[in-house]
Symmetry: C2
Subunit: 294 residues, 2 copies
């Protein structure tokens, strides 16, 4: 695989995801202010990393050129990710005014609606999976379980509790917060692809290991960009972690330590999938995430 | 069926539900403050009406004496109901200090934790259904879909948007709010029993009609109790709707009109299930709900 082929497939996934998402919550009702609020955050851009991982693992897991069969399940991840961002930005959480360079949901729609839009995105995500036309009942149930287990009290929400209410400080504490808050959903994305394609156990294991490494590298890079990033490319104010008094990987590892750890994680991510036939896209993606400035 | 037999079965269902719920979120972790907050509201009492409906329809739908096979799915309804109460009570929603005679979740655990406890109860509900040991993949997927469709942007959350942000006034507007906010989940409870037992289409239809009638009667009775109820039995302050400037069924129908409508709904609920063999429990339940003072 050449870089151009990687770029092309990445674009294909991204376009498919954007098209799918932009078709959601378009019904005209007299409570479509709710739908407007959901769509505002859902369609505010973003890397669409989670759906992309799900689609690639679905392709590798057996769907091949029919990877789009997994689109509803892949996009469900983005709904849950979006709800988590809306709630994270609330006044009682991080109290952020900007997200991806735009006013946060509650700044536009008010706090009440922001809570409710987030609340509604959760069941909407499960509904997408459970009505995916090309998946049988067993795969639907598997995909929905992957999402449920990653996003709740053993995963994403637990991480948010630690991050917001427990003031993590050491590298170990930060790693745990990351593993729960961000890592669990990146892992879910990779496993969702396996579940949607009914893949064998080997790919599940590879997906799990790959996800663990790129997930950690992803978070460390995020902390670095909060220091060395460009506000316009990064989409959020630089230095906001420090302003909020949050300890980050840059605090405990230093910028050079961060870069080294990312390099180790990326190399391990590559190893995790090297036995998977057709793994080149995942290699390019790991490299790209390690170097990203967005 | 005699009244005593009804009471006995009701008690059996209730005990099974309480026992099941009290076993949840008991793991000891260093973020068990999250679990404490979830359990605080989940175990704060309540009628357990939704799980009870699910269990009875599961019994009628074919599980018979093995109705407990549907317990995880039935209890999932209570998790979602509980999350909705926690979020409804938030300062940016109804801003309530008391719920079922006890301080509301955010009064005890703070607003941040209350949002997160609610957020975590949603995926936990889906996880319960999707790991229910006695249900096959098809029934799990059906149950999860029933829950997803009832609790989101076409159901409960839409109702909450109308109720909190749209100031409904007429009987028609109030009925719509109710149908979405409360009715959708009562309907889901009845359908969950059908889904968990893999019942035939006839029971689904009967469940849908029965649920529509008792759901409306339930909400009208709630509005009446806010005027004529006893604070201790009812578990929330009497007159709070009026204090919050909310229009209710009592405002538009009068107390006598409310009583008459409840009577009509109850009679229609009875008719809806009269062809279902073994429907007596549902008859008693409809009668009891119409007369409740709690």
């Amino acid at each position: 695989m050449e870089q151009a082929e990687f770029n092309l497939r990445r674009r294909e996934y991204r376009d498919a995801v954007e098209t799918f998402l932009s078709g959601l919550f378009t019904e005209k009702t007299h409570y479509s202010d709710l739908y407007d609020s959901m769509r505002y955050s859902l369609l505010a851009g973003g890397k669409r990393l989670r759906p992309m991982l799900a689609l690639e693992f679905a392709r590798l897991g057996g769907l091949g050129e029919n990877w789009a069969d997994a689109l509803p399940a892949a996009c469900a991840l983005e709904l849950v990710h979006t709800y988590s961002l809306i709630h994270d930005d609330l006044p009682c959480m991080d109290d952020d005014d900007l997200r991806r360079g735009k006013p946060t949901n509650h700044k536009v729609y008010g706090e009440t609606m922001a809570v409710l839009a987030g609340d509604a995105l959760q069941p909407a995500a499960f509904e997408l999976i459970l009505t995916a036309p090309k998946l049988d009942a067993a795969r639907r149930a598997d995909c929905a379980l992957v999402l449920a287990q990653a996003s709740g009290q053993h995963g994403m929400v637990a991480g948010q509790v630690l991050d917001t209410l427990h003031n993590p400080q050491t590298a170990q504490e930060l790693t745990e917060v990351h593993n729960l808050k961000t890592g669990a959903m990146i892992r879910a994305a990779c496993l969702m692809g396996c579940a949607a394609s009914g893949s064998g156990k080997k790919l599940w294991e590879a997906a799990e290991n790959y996800a663990g490494q790129i997930g950690l590298a992803f978070q460390i890079r995020d902390d670095m960009l909060d220091v060395i990033g460009n506000e316009e490319t990064f989409g959020k104010p630089i230095g906001s972690d420090q302003e909020e008094g949050k300890s980050t990987f840059v605090d405990v590892l230093g910028l050079e330590g961060c870069a080294n750890t990312i390099s180790v994680c990326t190399s391990r991510a590559r190893s995790a999938v090297e036995q998977v036939p057709g793994h080149e896209f995942l290699w390019y993606l790991a490299d790209q995430l390690a170097q990203r400035d967005y």
